[in-house]
C-alpha cells in the first residue's frame, strides 16, 4: 500500500451529493480493464459526452483542476456498489484524498486499503473550501500526522481519524500482514467455535 503523509495540491470541487461508485467507475470497466489502467475511466459518465468528446462543464476537464490530487465532494461520496475499482480509478486519475461531509461505508474502508485518504469535515467547512478553491487559488494542504486540512487562505480545519488507521496510512502498512500475527488467536477461536456451533462448520 502507498504511504500517505502530507499532500499539497489542487483541490477540485465536485459538490454533488450521493456520487455513487457506478458513476466513479462503470461496471464493464471492472471486467476487461487492468487495475493500473482504470484511471482513464474515472467519472466516465460525467467526463465525456454521448459522442465521446470531453464534457467541458465537468470540473476535472477544466484548468487548473485537471489531474487534481484532492477532490472536494458532496455528502455520501462513494455510496452504492462495493467495487474497489472505484478507489483504483480515482487513484489512477491522480486523486489521493477526498474531502466530504460523509462517505459510503464500504468505499470508505476500501480507501484505507489502498492509501487514498478520505477526510470527513462538517458540511459548512467543505462548502467553504469549495468556494475558496473555485475562486482560482485552489491549493490545499492535507496533513495527516497533524490531522489538519489547511485551506487556501491558511485556515486550519481539524479532522478526526482513528489512530490505527492514521498510523497504517502514514507507514503504508498492509492489514493482512498485521492479521497474520493473530493466527494463534484465530485457531483458538475456531477450535472453540467448532464445539459451540457445530452447525456452522458442517455445511451440507
Amino acid at each position: 500500500m502507498e504511504k500517505f503523509t502530507t499532500l499539497s495540491g489542487v483541490a477540485a470541487p465536485l459538490m454533488r451529493a450521493n456520487i455513487d461508485t457506478d458513476v466513479i467507475i462503470r461496471i464493464e470497466r471492472l471486467t476487461g480493464t487492468q487495475r493500473a489502467e482504470m484511471g482513464a475511466y474515472a467519472f466516465e459518465a460525467l467526463r465525456y459526452r454521448a459522442d465521446g468528446s470531453e464534457n467541458p462543464d465537468f470540473v476535472l476537464n477544466q484548468e487548473p483542476f485537471r489531474g487534481a490530487p484532492i477532490l472536494l465532494a458532496g455528502a455520501n461520496f462513494g455510496c452504492g456498489s462495493s467495487r474497489e475499482g472505484a478507489v483504483w480509478a480515482l487513484m489512477g486519475a491522480g486523486v489521493r484524498c477526498v474531502v466530504a461531509e460523509s462517505f459510503g461505508d464500504i468505499f470508505f474502508n476500501n480507501c484505507f486499503q489502498n492509501g487514498l485518504l478520505p477526510v470527513r469535515l462538517p458540511a459548512a467547512d467543505v462548502q467553504r473550501l469549495a468556494e475558496q478553491c473555485a475562486g482560482g487559488n485552489a491549493r490545499l494542504t492535507v496533513d495527516l500526522a497533524r490531522r489538519r486540512v489547511v485551506s487556501p487562505r491558511g485556515e486550519e480545519m481539524p479532522f478526526a481519524i482513528e489512530a490505527m488507521r492514521r498510523d497504517a496510512l502514514l507507514e503504508g502498512l498492509d492489514d493482512l500482514g498485521l492479521t497474520l500475527k493473530h493466527t494463534a488467536a484465530i485457531e483458538a477461536f475456531q477450535a472453540h467455535d467448532r464445539q459451540a456451533r457445530p452447525w456452522v462448520w458442517q455445511p451440507g
Binding site: E28, E84, G104
Partner: protein
C-alpha cells in the same frame, strides 16, 4: 458519542458481533470471525486470482460458496460463451474454486443464481452467522438474522486468507414498521418509503435492525427484500431477528443443519433476538398504513414518491445541495417538475435482481400479469434470481403466464440490474425496474431507471406507462 447499550441489554447485532470477536484491536476495532463467504464472477474470480498470485491459501474453503451471476447472459438457452467477455471470469471462478476446494454452482445447476438469492435458498446463510461477499447487497442475507455485509477486493482477500476481517463496531439503528400495509403495498414499497423519508445516507455507519409488527408478519423473502436496500439507506448491514418463520424457512434446506443438529441450532438461534429495553443510537418508526405504492423519479433511491404524487419541483427543495441534485436528476431522467409521475411512458420493464426475483415476487407479478398483455412498444423481461427459482416457477406454470402476457422469460443472473453482461436499457429509454439502484448509467449509459415493486412493474408494462397498481 454513540450511546452504549448497557451490557445486559443487547441488540441482535451486539449478540452476533460479540460472539465473533477473535481479538480486540482497541479503539472500537476488532478482528471479527467470518463464517461464510459468497464469491461471484466479478469480485470472487479476482480475489481468488490474487490469493494465488500472492502465494496465500484459502484458510477455510469449506465455508465459501461460489457461483457466476453478474457477467453471464440471461438469454434463453445461454451457455458460458453467450456473453464472451464474461466467459473468462466464469472459467476463472470455476477453476480457482476447484483448485482451492470451494463449492461452485455452475450454469444450469441447482445453486446457480444471484449470490444473495442462492445463499438463503440453499441454507448457506444461517441466523447468528457472519457472512461477507465482495458485493454491497450482501446485506440482503441479514433477512434470516445474520450479520451480512459487503466488502471490497482487499478485504475479500484478507478474509479468504485469514477467515477474519478488521472491523470497527458500527452504531446501531432500529427501524420499526408497525401496522398493516394497504392494498398494493409490499416490502419494496416499505423500504423505498423509508429511504425517501430519511435519506440515502441516513444509515451510514450503522447496522440497521428492522423490527415491528409489519416485519414479523413478512415471510422470509419479503424480509430479504427489505434488508436488500439497507445499502441504499447507507447502511452496509441490515437484519431481522430470527423467529419461527425463519426456522421453518431454513428447515430442510440443502446446507442448513438437519435432525438433532437443527434442533440444537434453533435453541441457540432463539437467544438471538434483541433484548427488551436494548438501546439504539437511532430509532425510526414507520406506520405501514401510511405507505403507498412507491416509485423513484430520480437518480438516487432517496428520490422516491408515492405513485399518486407529482414529480418534485427543485425550487421547493429543502436546501441548495438538494435543489441542484434534483435539477440534475430531472434533467437526466427527462422529467418535468409538477406533473404526475403516473402516466409517464415507459420503454422497458425489468423484473429481477437480488431485490425482487424470488418465487414470491414472481408469483405476485404473474398474478397481476395473468390475462393481461404488455403494451405495444414496451420490452418486458422476467429474470428469475436463481436456477432453483426458475425451476420452481416453471413447475407452477408462471413462465407461461408471463410469456402469454408478452414478457420474455429468461435465465437466472443479475442481468439488466447492473448491465455487466451487456444487457442494457438503451440510452435515453425509460425503464421500470424491480432492482435497487437508479444511479446515472446503472442500467446502461443514458438509461433512465424507476425503481418499484414487482406488481408496479407489471402495471407499468401493461399500461405502457408508470401506473398505479391499485387502479389496474
Amino acid at each position: 458519542m454513540p450511546v452504549q447499550t448497557s451490557s445486559d441489554k443487547l441488540a441482535l447485532f451486539d449478540k452476533i458481533w460479540n460472539s465473533h470477536v477473535v481479538a480486540d484491536l482497541g479503539d472500537d476495532w476488532v478482528l471479527l470471525h467470518i463464517d461464510r463467504h459468497l464469491l461471484h464472477d466479478l469480485s470472487g474470480a479476482r480475489a481468488l486470482e490474487e490469493i494465488a498470485q500472492r502465494g496465500l491459501t484459502v484458510r477455510n474453503p469449506e465455508l465459501a460458496f461460489a457461483t457466476p451471476d453478474h457477467a453471464v447472459s440471461s438469454a434463453p438457452g445461454r451457455n458460458e460463451a453467450t456473453f464472451a467477455p464474461g466467459a473468462d471470469l466464469l472459467r476463472g471462478l470455476r477453476r480457482r474454486s476447484a483448485e482451492t476446494g470451494i463449492r461452485f454452482f455452475d450454469l444450469g445447476e441447482d445453486g446457480q443464481g444471484i449470490v444473495h438469492v442462492m445463499a438463503p435458498e440453499l441454507g448457506i446463510v444461517l441466523p447468528g452467522t457472519v457472512l461477507i461477499c465482495g458485493d454491497s447487497h450482501t446485506c440482503t442475507n441479514g433477512g434470516v438474522g445474520a450479520l451480512a455485509f459487503g466488502v471490497g477486493s482487499s478485504e475479500l482477500v484478507h478474509a479468504l486468507a485469514t477467515q477474519t476481517l478488521r472491523q470497527r463496531r458500527p452504531k446501531r439503528m432500529r427501524v420499526r414498521f408497525e401496522g398493516t400495509p394497504g392494498q398494493g403495498v409490499g416490502p419494496k414499497d416499505l423500504i423505498l418509503h423509508l429511504i425517501g423519508r430519511i435519506g440515502a445516507a441516513a444509515g451510514t455507519g450503522h447496522a440497521v435492525e428492522y423490527a415491528g409488527s409489519a416485519i414479523r408478519a413478512l415471510p422470509i423473502e419479503g424480509r430479504l427484500t427489505i434488508c436488500n436496500l439497507s445499502i441504499e439507506l447507507g447502511a452496509k448491514m441490515g437484519m431481522v431477528a430470527p423467529d419461527d418463520t425463519t426456522f421453518e424457512y431454513l428447515a430442510g434446506r440443502r446446507f442448513a443443519p438437519s435432525g438433532a443438529a437443527f434442533d440444537c441450532a434453533v435453541a441457540a438461534w432463539r437467544e438471538l433476538p434483541t433484548d427488551a429495553d436494548a438501546v439504539f443510537d437511532r430509532e425510526e418508526v414507520v406506520d405501514a398504513a401510511d405507505v403507498s405504492p412507491t416509485i423513484t423519479w430520480g437518480t438516487s433511491p432517496e428520490q422516491a414518491i408515492p405513485i399518486d404524487a407529482a414529480i418534485p419541483d427543485p425550487d421547493s427543495a429543502p436546501d441548495l445541495v438538494r435543489r441542484e441534485a434534483w435539477r440534475n436528476a430531472l434533467d437526466y431522467m427527462g422529467l418535468e417538475p409538477g406533473r404526475p409521475i403516473a402516466g409517464t411512458p415507459v420503454d422497458w420493464v425489468f423484473i429481477g435482481s437480488c431485490t425482487n426475483s424470488r418465487l414470491s415476487d414472481l408469483r405476485e407479478a404473474a398474478a397481476m400479469a395473468r390475462g393481461r398483455h404488455v403494451a405495444s412498444g414496451v420490452t418486458a423481461w422476467v429474470v428469475p434470481g436463481s436456477e432453483r427459482v426458475k425451476r420452481a416457477a416453471e413447475a407452477e406454470g408462471l413462465d407461461r403466464v408471463f410469456t402469454e402476457a408478452g414478457f420474455a422469460w429468461r435465465e437466472p443472473g443479475c442481468s439488466m440490474c447492473v448491465a455487466a453482461n451487456g444487457e442494457r436499457v438503451p440510452p435515453g429509454q425509460r425503464a421500470v425496474s424491480t432492482s435497487n439502484r437508479n444511479f446515472v448509467g446503472r442500467q446502461g449509459p443514458g438509461a433512465r431507471t424507476h425503481l418499484a415493486s414487482p406488481v408496479m412493474a407489471v402495471a407499468a408494462a401493461v399500461a405502457g406507462a408508470i401506473a398505479d397498481v391499485r387502479r389496474l
